[in-house]
Symmetry: C2
Subunit: 360 residues, 2 copies
């Protein structure tokens, strides 16, 4: 940032968050959860910011989801008391000690997808009250067991003395054009099958947790008990291109300056070290310009975005500031030390990305 004083427009590139849009997104998801009787446990990996977590909880979130012990430590330190590490944590050595310290401090749930991981978790957690959820694969083919095998993992965990509270999945295969409905159906099917597998072993799957931003509207409140969307707080170019939000819902953009231009091409000073390099095959570029939806980011270097405008449109001039929606906002936030909070067109605050880089 060029200037550190609050209220002063910072130097580009920086990440700006529209507070009113953010607030609308937070309230909207909370209302949608309440309507369906679903517990909302938003994934804090997207924002990594304490003030946003506090707002989510104030609007009725049951607790937070995180991906790492490090993220959990940051939010526990900030006073969050109910955390789910939605990850198959391998609790060896120092990780076991950190996990136990967390469990002694907050209400903690941890993911597990193998008897071996359960054994390590048991050494760390038995006696603390921490619970586990069995991770199942609903079609994304990442971590998680087949639903039919969830009982085996649950039994192994229970025999080690871990309280098994239920099952969870991430329907990440919904990140693709036209795939949201199928992914939501797969999610519900996998959680039903996994819950049945646990119940066949005499273990009640009281918690059936799923969810992602693309599938959030389609989450089946008759099957799931909670969902864990993350990206909805900010939106991003991917979500717009998937159809799960519109430009008016995009709360976070990188503000960038035109530093070079040539014909229909302008170069912005926000590159992959600001926006992140995420670019799945189905997106139309390396991010989008909400105020110029006809423009395309055709290339991204570390400090350059190459933006091409249609030949019949005027191209922005040197020194102009443009807003860029990253493809994947979680990556962009994790590159920044702070977010610049804008309200009514003025810089209102700066929020630290407190869990930036908390990867362990």
């Amino acid at each position: 940032m060029d200037d550190d004083a609050p209220g002063i427009e910072p130097g580009t590139p920086y990440l700006a968050v529209d507070l009113d849009i953010l607030d609308r997104n937070l309230r909207g998801m909370a209302a949608g959860a309440a309507d369906r009787g679903l517990a909302l446990r938003p994934h804090a990996k997207t924002h990594k910011c304490v003030p946003i977590a506090q707002r989510q909880l104030a609007y009725g979130a049951a607790g937070l989801t995180v991906a790492t012990i490090g993220e959990a430590e940051v939010f526990a330190e900030a006073g969050c008391t109910d955390l789910f590490i939605a990850y198959p944590v391998w609790a060896s050595d120092a990780r076991a000690r950190r996990l136990r310290a967390l469990a002694e401090r907050v209400t903690l749930r941890v993911g597990v997808d193998s008897p071996e991981a359960a054994a390590l978790l048991a050494r760390a957690l038995v006696g603390t009250g921490a619970e586990v959820l069995v991770e199942v694969d609903s079609g994304h083919h990442r971590s998680g067991v087949e639903p039919a095998s969830a009982g085996t993992v649950a039994v192994a965990a229970a025999r080690q003395g871990l309280p098994v509270r239920g099952v969870f999945t991430f329907p990440g295969h919904g990140y693709g054009p036209g795939r949201r409905a199928d992914a939501a159906a797969d999610e519900a099917g996998a959680l039903v099958a996994a819950a049945a597998a646990l119940e066949a072993e005499g273990i009640d799957a009281e918690v059936r947790s799923g969810g992602s931003t693309p599938t959030a509207d389609l989450t089946d409140g008759d099957v799931l008990t909670e969902f864990r969307p993350g990206v909805y707080v900010f939106g991003d170019a991917q979500q717009v291109e998937l159809g799960s939000c519109g430009w008016p819902d995009v709360a976070l953009t990188a503000v960038a300056t035109v530093v070079s231009r040539s014909g229909p091409r302008v170069i912005l000073d926000a590159g992959s070290k600001v926006l992140g390099a995420d670019q799945p095959a189905w997106v139309t570029g390396a991010g989008r310009l909400p105020d110029h939806p006809e423009a395309r980011i055709t290339a991204l270097s570390e400090h350059h975005a190459t933006v091409v405008f249609p030949a019949d449109r005027p191209t922005p001039g040197l020194g102009e500031q443009l807003r860029v929606a990253p493809n994947h906002v979680c990556s962009a936030v994790n590159l920044a030390d702070e977010l610049v909070i804008v309200s009514d067109g003025r810089v209102a605050d700066r929020w630290a990305v407190a869990a930036r880089g908390a990867n362990t």
Copy 2:
């Protein structure tokens, strides 16, 4: 990191640098520069680390290249006295004040590619002794003017009172299979033409600066006076797949743990928030495993790498630690707060990524 004490193996995921390979890479590039009479001005955006900059200078680098004023400030603070910001800096407002403060402290060169940018640079820099180089496009089609137009920009800068020292380019189109030789030839041709354009205006192009890691071996020492490779210090999966280095030259890897497995698929705890998401169309995956060259990273989430092993090979077990070379090491380094320095198989030190996130 799980443990902060030096000498203790940190918790995964973390970035490890083999000090002996790093040192060999640094010496090798310095020797190659000396052999051809080229000044080596390595790009510090790759490592962002003071101890590596100091080694580069000790081995004979003429100075450092950086991409932003923020990076320049970090290395100036660390005692580096000769810096080139190889970027078309738009020196408005606070950026102008920071640039002037830098120029009063170190020997400074800055890139320029338009008369408008030259006017702003002049307001910031005239009288400080700072010099400019005109950026030309040698085929990468990012920033920079056509070589024939370099004279126009140089004249504009000189009329504003800026000392014009020469021309520079980045042959980034050499990042593609079989394109290194053409890119190096384009680079030399563009710099010859741009230098002629300056000389036609009575301005001596004493400095003709180019270079990148893929083209470094091919840099024409009869045309160029200096080159600016960055990635060579560490190497990465992209460079190996391009053929510009081999696995024994890769000094930096992410150390990750197998947290889940299913058939030929294992899941590592290093995802895009550790490795970066860079994946040009021509690479074979989202990073590579130097110790398992037959394995492929078929998908990357924020905290998961999905690695597929050939059916006839044993897959690593749960809890095993594997090394992953990121596709683009500059992105991976910029995600980390520190690098774990390994020598003779032991943790020898930890180096701060001092310029991490220095994007303005």
